[in-house]
Symmetry: C2
């Protein structure tokens, strides 16, 4: 089953969110307008808005409030991506030139600042102190993750714990916050918002691990950037961490990354594929998904719970 | 009278704010730690914290709450400075190398992001929705100002209105917010927080106009950067706007900026000085200061009101 099919019943709401995103990033400054539109059209799965919409249904659902939370979280995600691309010096994202490539780092910086400020402004309408407080903490962690990512690049001695902390901050916490804030903003009972947080957190971990696997197993066309890109940028992901337990593999990979040409990338990808690192990472992703599904048991049986369950299952199996 | 003397009675509180700022920007990541410390030590007058401390006294003063608001606003100011330096491509600030000069634009970007996230995190503790909402709006406007500044650089046809809108966003609104949030966070009566907002807004406008004057009238030693720097970066400030009403002046200035060498800068500064633009800007600054002082009349006679009055008077006369 496709992700879009699972939440087809949210299509109308998602369409309104899309409209609201477009309206929000609208600017009279031409570069900003073009850069924001570029980011918006690069799209992605809008998984954070979907989770907000579903989580909101465990409380006194309010379309307007939920839409605002959903738009705000997607904007924060977008802002973090555009700043991330500066830090990663990334040329492409989802097959499109990044803002920093098409313009420059300065434009990427202020586009991110602007989108982020818009997100805060929309969130300010939500009359829940605990929502604001949760969001601020999440943003702080995401920022720390952005910085750690630089520090930990090309660090061949990093531990599994370092990797997990990094993807927690990079991905899992904002997905967890989407679930939790969706629930908090409609005054869902606390046990529900906590279960949703655990669901989001564990699904987010599985999601990022899967992303890190796909960097080796998917095609350039599927990824929108060459396979092995993460590795060549020095991001030591889970499959790599597994592979470099073997010292010979580690030395070879270091050499190949040093070379950096097309053949070297292909060879590096092969080393990781042959190491068993993919199976290891898949197993860990599965474990997180099981935890996510387990968290759902704390929620009342309902259509929205079933949808979350289906999403988690698809996330675990996605091929790109 | 010196600024520091006027609020000498706040010294203990300011010391604690300084400690809290240091503790807050502490990071285990060495570059981030050094960059933040650099920013912190570049110092400045801590005018925003002072205003928060004074405004807070018009409500049920709470040292802890007020300290948090003060620290948060100073951090937001710091974050905006470090991103501003990227946009302005500024080499020096207050005589010190900027973060983007000492490291690079990437470090400046994530240092700003990090400090900003810390500010939000501290602010999240303040249990007032209207405070959060005011702050978000202010941040959005500050961001818009950051972007306008680029667009309006070297725009010789801009109007007085454009200039005023830009300094409003660049400076006045955050100073106004410092006064207002200081009052809101201690539950001061609404007419007081509104009067304080007007005071801060008008004083902020006067403050920035004075800054723009000093770029021409102060020495390199006083400024911590060469005189005429703003103009050479293409920032069309109030004295320049006045000077270029004369077409001959305008053409000469455009030529000189094109040249960009030391003699050209000195000549450009002289043209502005001889145009009468300084007197014109001083007059406008005085008008804003009078409005600021008038706003104070809406507040009960008190030591804090007297201190605000003295601050405004000194701001209007400062020579660097």
């Amino acid at each position: 089953m496709k992700l879009r099919t699972i939440y087809a019943h949210l299509d109308n709401e998602l369409k309104r969110i899309e409209e609201s995103l477009e309206k929000t990033v609208h600017s009279e400054q031409p570069t900003l307008q073009q850069a924001s539109t570029q980011l918006l059209n690069a799209g992605g799965k809008r998984i954070r808005p979907v989770l907000v919409l579903l989580a909101g249904r465990f409380g006194q659902y309010d379309k307007d409030v939920t839409k605002k939370v959903a738009v705000s979280l997607e904007l924060i995600h977008m802002a973090s991506l555009v700043h991330d691309d500066v830090i990663d010096d990334a040329e492409l994202r989802r097959g499109e030139k990044t803002v920093k490539t098409k313009w420059d780092n300065r434009v990427a910086m202020y586009t991110g600042d602007y989108i982020f400020a818009k997100a805060l402004d929309i969130m300010a309408d939500i009359p829940s102190i605990s929502a604001h407080s949760r969001l601020s903490l999440t943003i702080l962690e995401v920022c720390k993750g952005e910085i750690e990512q630089i520090k930990e690049k090309f660090d061949w001695e990093q531990s599994l714990r370092t990797y997990l902390r990094r993807i927690r901050r990079k991905t899992a916490l904002l997905i967890a916050a989407s679930c939790q804030l969706g629930a908090i903003s409609t005054n869902a009972p606390k046990p529900y918002s906590e279960a949703l947080y655990r669901f989001g957190y564990n699904m987010g971990m599985a999601y990022q691990i899967t992303d890190d696997i796909l960097d080796f197993t998917a095609s350039e066309k599927q990824l929108g950037k060459p396979a092995g890109s993460d590795l060549m940028q020095g991001n030591i992901t889970l499959p790599v961490l597994y592979a470099i337990q073997n010292n010979e593999c580690k030395e070879k990979l270091q050499q190949l990354i040093g070379l950096g040409n097309e053949q070297a990338v292909a060879d590096a990808v092969n080393i990781v594929l042959e190491s068993g690192g993919i199976a290891y990472a898949e197993e860990m992703s599965r474990t997180y998904l099981q935890k996510a599904l387990f968290a759902l048991e704390g929620l009342p049986v309902s259509k929205q719970r079933k949808t979350l369950e289906d999403i988690a299952k698809v996330i675990g199996k996605r091929k790109f």
